[in-house]
């Protein structure tokens, strides 16, 4: 039955409907794949009993022809999403064995539509990282390796567990979150499809917050169609999240295969970095060629404030994080390290509970919000953010339908290879993706090719606000042209 795991979500849905196999069989196949792939460390919590119970329920609903759009489909859930009765830690020691009494809006919508939870997926602690190396459960292995090498590579981050599990056929799709590139960069590193929808498209309720004005949930899947199917269930207005937007969720799948003829695709000249690897450049050109072949028109565009995006992001995101993470104080839940008085309790708990990268960002955030520095840092970064947003608006106002860029400046790298001495080296991974969060726009990463060492590379498409449909249409053109990529199994 192991070949059940290699089906796409769309194929599995068809098979389930045709009763070729049951959800229980499909779920068991994935549970056994997860068991065999523990070396990847993609799952931090396996929930086989719950998975089988959900699968049985899905099977009975399918039998009664009462099945939701994701009935019986086994998924992995990033550990940032609160799952009722199932430990949720954001991969931080500080949450300890926290078990929520509530279910996040996004996951509850997936269960509403019949999906099956296989377990919780590894991620960077509080989603702070680009390599999934900051998790308190240890790093995640990328199912991809360089040709002829046994070095374990990172899957990217922060949704490294999600990307790795989807690429390694451990689940048919996964939830993920993206604050500066945390869906798109790991998708690019693992030859999976990841979409960060428009800010406000998915509810943030029940997702452990990193940076509230940037955080957005989205799926990682093995095809553009699968991603579209998942997003349709995940998205929607939620009165419990004031920043979620009350507009109807379209049938994203209907956008797949829609003609892109006459669409205007922007190529931003500022994304052509000095010293960018030639193969990235080549990939970008190939992407443009494929879209052109499908009838799209390519235009060079300018996003002049791009170079300020990363520095501004590393002010805004830590500022919000420093405040969002203040609730982890050892008083009400999670880890508590005693002290002689309340100040010591705070200090001991937070020093013990937070990892180095989280501590660094909390300190940066506290600093930039301090009296006397607020105007110079936070306020200024917000102004930059407005300018970045305006860059995109100007571009779209000229009739551009979507913007094509590389997803990452390089392919996956080895565990421990980057950022050891200088955190900025790691932060540069998000150079092409942070602008999208700063502007609140939708962005999709689609696998488009391989580098010289046989590692996958992805392209990114950036769309107008709430126009995820165009991204799915264009993404599928690239997918069709580039083909699908599957890692050779080594685990």
């Amino acid at each position: 039955m192991t070949d059940l795991t290699s089906l796409t979500l769309a194929e599995a849905r068809k098979g389930l409907a045709a009763k070729n196999f049951t959800s229980l069989e499909l779920t068991d196949a994935h549970l056994s794949a997860i068991e065999k792939a523990r070396v990847l460390n993609a799952f931090v919590m396996e929930t086989p009993d719950q998975a089988r119970a959900m699968a049985r329920e899905a099977d009975s609903k399918i039998a009664k022809s009462d099945a939701g759009p994701l009935a019986g489909i086994p998924l992995g859930i990033k550990d940032l999403f609160a799952t009722k009765g199932v430990r949720t830690t954001a991969c931080s020691k500080i949450l300890g064995n926290f078990v929520p009494t509530y279910e996040s809006t996004v996951t509850s919508q997936l269960w509403r539509d019949g999906a099956v939870m296989l377990g919780k997926l590894n991620n960077d602690e509080f989603a702070m990282g680009s390599a999934n190396e900051t998790s308190c459960f240890g790093p995640v292995g990328n199912p991809w390796r360089r040709e002829g090498s046994n070095t374990t590579l990172v899957p990217g981050g922060s949704s490294g567990g999600s990307a790795s599990a989807v690429a390694a056929l451990l689940c048919m799709g996964a939830t993920a979150t993206d604050t500066g590139g945390s869906i798109r960069q790991p998708a690019a590193f693992t030859a999976t499809v990841g979409i960060k929808p428009t800010y406000g498209r998915c509810s943030r309720w029940g997702i452990v917050a990193f940076a509230s004005s940037l955080d957005q949930a989205g799926p990682i899947a093995r095809s553009v169609r699968d991603a579209a199917m998942l997003l349709r269930s995940m998205a929607g207005h939620d009165p419990k999240d004031t920043t979620s937007v009350d507009i109807p969720v379209p049938d994203y799948e209907a956008a797949i295969g829609k003609s892109v003829k006459g669409m205007k695709i922007g190529i931003p000249r500022e994304y052509r970095l000095d010293g960018m690897p030639a193969e990235i450049e080549k990939l970008w050109e190939a992407g443009a060629k494929w879209l052109k072949a499908a009838g799209a028109e390519l235009v060079e565009v300018s996003l002049p404030h791009t170079k300020y995006a990363l520095p501004a992001y590393y002010i805004v995101a830590p500022a919000e994080a420093s405040s969002n993470l203040a609730r982890y104080d050892g008083v009400r839940y999670g880890l508590r390290e005693q002290g002689k008085n309340i100040i010591e309790l705070y200090e001991n708990t937070r020093a013990e509970g937070f990892g180095a990268e989280v501590r660094r960002r909390v300190m940066i955030g506290t600093y930039v919000l301090s009296a006397g520095y607020y105007d110079a840092y936070y306020l200024r970064a917000q102004k930059v953010r407005t300018l970045i947003k305006k860059d995109f608006e100007d571009c779209f106002a000229k009739g551009v339908d979507a913007i094509l860029t590389p997803a990452t400046p390089s392919a996956a790298f080895g565990i421990g290879e980057k950022g050891g001495a200088d955190p900025v080296e790691m932060y540069l991974n998000d150079i092409f993706t942070v602008t999208v969060n700063m502007a609140g726009l939708p962005g999709i990463a689609v696998p488009a090719g391989k580098d010289a060492q046989g590692l996958p590379l992805g392209l990114q498409l950036i769309g107008r606000p709430f126009d995820e449909e165009t991204l799915f249409s264009l993404g599928e053109v690239i997918e069709q042209a580039a083909g699908r990529f599957t890692p050779a199994r080594w685990w």
Binding site: P100, R204, W205, V208, A319, E320, S322, A326, D329, Y374
Partner: protein, 492 residues
């Protein structure tokens, strides 16, 4: 109305003037908290009115309670203040165990209500105008319980997230009396509006008082803030003490250190809590979980159209319509319930034009006097508005005299009943039969020939005769008739 002069404090080196500003924290009257659906009911078991949002569970988000917004706007309108159609919620970051999020959601740079003013009522019908700097909405923290265990502190999060209005005055208050009058007036306005119950014992209304002193007309001195005052009387005591303390330091050549102080009501003194150096850096920034709070002028206008009559308007109306003194009118309107009682009496009077003023006197002197003596609240008055109106009608129409009315009031107070029926059944009716009165008058004059002879020279002694006649008639003779008869018979 006249504008008040304020009290200066005498020091050993001359006069000092107090400059006082206040921050009032008023709990918004609403069923649910500012950003969660949990109940705001007072006195539940600890942690029984707590939602996931109130204890800052991971991934929880605040959602504004629109009723709290309406209440803040109503209050702003009651303070004649600028209503800001766009305001912003900010996070005020600090660590404390009763603050679950690690920040309080408040409004910093853009409050919902801007500048306004309050007219305060002082002794002798004088008034003063105190400027309002702003009003903003914010969350109340939880409550630490230190008395449950020798080694541990507990936290009750029932209050956590309850909506507060912080009302900041301008530094326009000049002495303790004004400060007390300011809090009294704010409380009264909010109780009229139904936006805060003003119950200081339950903590629904608390004040932080900023006090500094200076030579009259000199620039502002350094201030100290007295935190968390929950009694109007203590506010007065704390200000007097604090001003004296500062004057003493300054007159000894010292300097005032800006600090936060606490008032100890047992010792009647203020004590240092923390100095400026220990002050928090709250790292305010706009809360990214909440959109800016925006509403239309129509929304404000609709609330404005439904505002009840407020104490100042009521007072002006009482003065204009019934000729009440400013003082009497402000006594009547100070509490919403008192004003309501008076207005109910007015409604039931046979002629409010004739007896409206008399009704005010009766409510203030007889009723309030009696209630105060017995420590009762107006809502627990044994004499209701209908009964009092009936008593006043009986006086106004001449059925009973004012003196008899007091006896009748006492009977109604003690025994209840219909005043008109009581007058009938107990024979308390005023005697207006001139022949009956005339006989009494004649008897008294005949019995006192010396005094009768003196009256022509000393007209003021006529009163003695009136008193005698009234006494002889058991108070039932009509005083006007007695007066007239005596005058004609004695030839004055």
């Amino acid at each position: 109305m006249s504008t008040a002069t304020h009290k200066l404090l005498k020091g050993s080196t001359g006069d000092w003037e107090m400059v006082i500003g206040m921050e009032i924290h008023a709990q918004v009257t609403s069923n649910a908290k500012l950003f969660s659906g949990a109940s705001t009911a007072f006195g539940g078991e600890p942690n029984s009115h707590v939602s996931l949002v109130d204890v800052a569970m991971p991934g929880m988000l605040p959602v504004i309670n629109e009723e709290c917004v309406r209440q803040a706007v109503r209050t702003g309108l009651g303070l004649n203040a600028q209503i800001n159609l766009r305001s912003v919620f900010d996070r005020k970051n600090y660590f404390y165990p009763d603050l679950p999020q690690g920040y309080q959601i408040s409004q910093y740079k853009s409050p919902i209500v801007g500048e306004g003013e309050v007219i305060i009522d002082l002794d002798g019908g004088k008034t003063a105008t105190i400027g309002i700097e702003r009003l903003h909405l914010e969350q109340d923290p939880g409550k630490m319980l230190h008395d449950r265990s020798p080694s541990l502190s507990y936290i009750d999060f029932n209050r956590s997230g309850v909506a507060l209005m912080e009302i900041v005055s301008k530094p326009d208050i000049r002495d303790a009396e004004q400060a007390k009058a300011y809090v009294t007036k704010l409380r009264s306005i909010m109780r009229y509006l139904g936006t805060c119950d003003g119950d200081m014992e339950k903590g629904s209304l608390r004040a932080d008082v900023n006090v500094s002193v200076r030579r009259p007309g000199a620039p502002l001195g350094t201030r100290c803030e007295i935190k968390n005052m929950n009694s109007i009387a203590f506010i007065g005591q704390a200000i007097e003490y604090e001003a004296r303390r500062q004057i003493e330091i300054l007159e000894d050549g010292g300097e005032i250190e800006q600090e936060t102080r606490r008032f100890d009501p047992n010792k009647g003194e203020t004590r240092s809590m923390r100095s400026k150096e220990e002050a928090h850096d709250y790292r305010y920034f706009p809360d990214p979980d909440l959109l800016p709070l925006e509403f239309s002028q129509d929304f404000v206008d609709a609330l404005k159209a439904k505002l009840p009559e407020l104490p100042d308007q009521k007072k002006a109306r009482f003065v204009a319509d019934f000729g009440l003194s400013a003082y009497d009118a402000s006594v009547l309107v100070a509490e919403r319930e008192s004003a309501l009682f008076y207005e109910t009496v007015l409604d039931k009077l046979a002629s409010r034009a004739r007896d409206g003023k008399m009704a005010a006197n009766w409510v203030i002197n007889e009723l309030f006097g009696r209630l105060n003596k017995e420590g009762r609240d107006i809502t627990a008055s044994p004499v209701n508005a209908g009964q009092l109106a009936a008593i006043i009608d009986l006086i106004g129409e001449g059925t009973i005299s004012g003196k008899i009315a007091k006896d009748l009031f006492e009977i109604v107070w003690q025994e209840g009943g219909d005043p008109r029926a009581l007058v009938e059944s107990r024979g308390m009716k005023q005697v207006t039969d001139l022949s009956a009165i005339e006989k009494v008058v004649d008897d008294i004059i005949a019995a006192n020939p010396d005094k009768a002879a003196q009256v022509k020279d000393k007209p003021q002694s006529l009163g003695w005769f009136v008193g005698q006649v009234m006494k002889a008639s058991g108070g039932k003779a009509n005083p006007q008739s007695v007066n007239d008869l005596l005058k004609s018979k004695l030839g004055v």
